[in-house]
Symmetry: D2
Subunit: 277 residues, 4 copies
């Protein structure tokens, strides 16, 4: 017996839940967990169904396609552990957190490789027996550097790229190549403090809360669909540096919670937003 997850989304119409669950029932697939959502503004229907049974993917999907409205998207995902490549620069906390959570089993993922534009995190990565690729950007144009990165990354057939404090802006070419496959952690509560040095900006503004945002990367910097956000309180005693230090905890927690949702097929991207079922 296998477990698979069916993700369906399409224009809303009467009887969709009934139609989809009927097909599952007909194929003797047991619904372990089911969630739906209708976005009333756009009239769009989303459904996530965890199934258990003996799957004939082809006939099951064919039945679905016949039942669903024109333009419906559906994916049937096996329970294979997802594979990620992590991109880093110099900061250890987000990488370290993913390594450790994978090690102790709280994050269910295969880390295929870590790629960094500095070699600073090579030692940490290799302690966990994971290949580290040092791809410097020095003396290279942005395009040349990304070309080298992509050569390394392409070996691994990753499901997702995770920017774990990777501090370089990506070109539209790169972003397009991994559309809705790149997850970034931004060190502010977006859309506050877009751009560089958000903790300095937060300090200058005298805010009483700082945060972090995990989002899919799109061409508009810091503007992609938000997956998860969280915050912590700060006060007048925090320097910009203290805020950055305190912020690290939020960053890694937000990133690993977002990964947990994405890697377990809970996240739909729709327009510039996410629906998380």
């Amino acid at each position: 017996m296998e477990k698979k997850t069916l993700l369906t989304h399409c224009s809303d119409a009467p009887g969709l839940i009934s139609k989809i669950t009927n097909i599952c029932y007909k194929h003797q697939l047991n619904i372990v967990h089911n969630s739906e959502f209708v976005d009333n503004t756009s009239g769009h229907f989303f459904m996530r169904t965890e199934l258990e049974g003996y799957f004939n993917d082809q006939t099951f999907l064919a039945d679905l396609d016949q039942a669903l409205p024109q333009g419906a998207k559906r994916r049937l995902l096996g329970s294979r552990r997802k594979r990620i490549v992590i991109l880093v620069t110099k900061e250890a906390h987000c990488l370290g957190d993913i390594l450790m959570k994978t090690y102790d089993g709280s994050l269910d993922v295969e880390i295929a490789a870590v790629v960094g534009n500095y070699d600073k995190l090579q030692g940490l990565t290799e302690r966990f027996d994971i290949p580290y690729h040092y791809v410097t950007h020095e003396d290279l144009s942005r395009e040349e550097h990304e070309q080298k990165m992509m050569e390394v990354i392409s070996q691994y057939e990753a499901d997702y790229l995770v920017l774990a404090k990777y501090m370089r802006v990506l070109t539209p070419t790169f972003v397009e190549k991994y559309r809705h496959k790149i997850i970034n952690i931004h060190h502010s509560f977006l859309p506050a403090f877009i751009g560089a040095k958000p903790y300095q900006q937060a300090y200058d503004r005298g805010v009483k809360i700082i945060g972090a945002t995990a989002h899919f990367v799109t061409n508009d910097l810091d503007e992609g669909p938000i997956i998860k956000q969280d915050v912590i309180p700060v006060d007048h005693t925090f320097s910009a540096q203290d805020m950055a230090q305190a912020g690290r905890d939020v960053e890694k927690n937000v990133l690993s919670k977002a990964l947990n949702k994405v890697l377990n097929d809970h996240v739909f991207v729709y327009g510039n937003k996410t629906v998380i079922l």
Copy 2:
């Protein structure tokens, strides 16, 4: 066109979602929102379905009853605003919060009456044009007092009784009469600090967090099904009295969040627990 909510729970079986949604579809009832849950420990299935359409309750329920397994419970609830009677003693904060939230529309309920064993909150209640009944317990046995309370309460055909810091223990007779209809706010994070003076207990123990618990009342004092809990941080600077003062905010917030869930038919009671869909 009407809106109704269908609450179903029964032993889990294959195809339940499919069967129920088929019947909705057949009756041309549109599913506005649907949630299900299967408790794997007990093998029990719960489903809450918000429906929209022209209802023929009798034939719809008859169809359901035929489709559902033996022993299934289902309720079809109209969108009528619920009616509550509030029981109080002397403390104003929970009553005041419910009065104000009802006034400004954040809580969608009809407050039929307030009943108190002191007259202290009569003025506040009457400012909101709601009848207040002062039923003193002085010179009365517990049974006699409750008898008088029940006489007053019974005039109002309330859906729920809300104990908004009503500080008297209820007899099994009273509790049984309003089974799963009495909601209490307990001034601690249950099961910590059961019983009297929880803030003093919390102070003595030196806890760093205090909380409140909204629960249905059963015969076992402080042991009924929990609906909602929340906490706030405290520290060494808080006296027992400071904790009580700070706790008031949590108490009223927890109570009104619990009421919001109960009054909008989101809460199943099952065994000694709640399932909130």
Copy 3:
């Protein structure tokens, strides 16, 4: 025996705590609570001292002035309950919360009057026996309207003006007249979603958290010193209207927490920030 609070701030220098506490000791004033903070970026010292004893304000302050560096600011504040005037438009939740918390004793303040540019909240205000002034802005220029507002407000010798969802922009003249005396609740987590319709902006951006900000009003709209911020999680199921509804709870909680700090003399304004001791 009296209780007073001493607020001191000045350029940092060696021995300041020692000098100030020596003077308290010399005047036989008992230090009930003391907090200090040095902002290392600006080299500025802040100290808040709760004192108990028999005060001779003049000689005590003269001693302090002699001991403190040039340009030091100090205020000795009696324990008199502060007086506020509340400005409102149409929304009841923040006003209602302040009225109720004042009624039940959780907020220690005298509400001298409520002034609204609509008459919608007159009934609610008068239920609490507080004068309501309806000062319409219709057919008036901004300046004329503010002139009328100020005439009403000036009767009350308020310590602070509280904008409890007062939805009109104030002129520099008005703001200057009540410098650091006007507290506003802004319905977003500033600096995100500055300006109008923040909940619609939050909805459009697909954020997973919404918030509110209490701040002193300065000429730069939404840019004054922040006193308190808080947030709540939202998700894809929230419409812009749901966010606004959920946001109301945060707004009133943030506003009343900010008031609590300001009214009990915990807040220093320094530059465009607050220091809260």
Copy 4:
């Protein structure tokens, strides 16, 4: 120039802050940060003073001793990084978190060694080049096992022992030897769910929040002075095992926050409580 921290506590008396800060001033020690607290219930005074300057410890402490009341306790602590020995059983998450936070600099501590009654965490520990001692309890009485543990531990002159999910009860002898030096993480929001299997207990009770408690170990199991507590929300969808999994995050966060306070000399133990300045 050196940095040191002075921790003082004694019966409250007039002028204590003044006396202590005078002595600092006299010794030309600059007060970088200062906090005080008076516990009004017990009439006890606590003060933590971060100092900067050229220290003559002996004369400084002699001056203090002369100024402070009988029975006063004071410690002058250098800024040397603290040394800990970590005790573990089989669960990796708390150990892993401390290792990683020490590696990336968020926790400022020297991990002298890890001691486990199983060998399961030896690999993880040695990845970070830290000695691991496997001291099995098999075929040993509790006293014999602890004897062997103490032999290992005593090599390291640790400031604190950290029980990072060490699942064995300690004898009074062991506890007494490291009085107020042993920090434990308990997997519940104490005093709720004292004893074994707290997540199963939480599941059975149907709570809506679970938590963790870091505390000093005393002879009364789960009854020592609480340093830090935190919670996360759970709901009906959590099995006891899900609660345990979710709880791991709280456990490690609470433990590392508690360590951060203890290791930086912020924590006073007084009676069965902590004062954290």
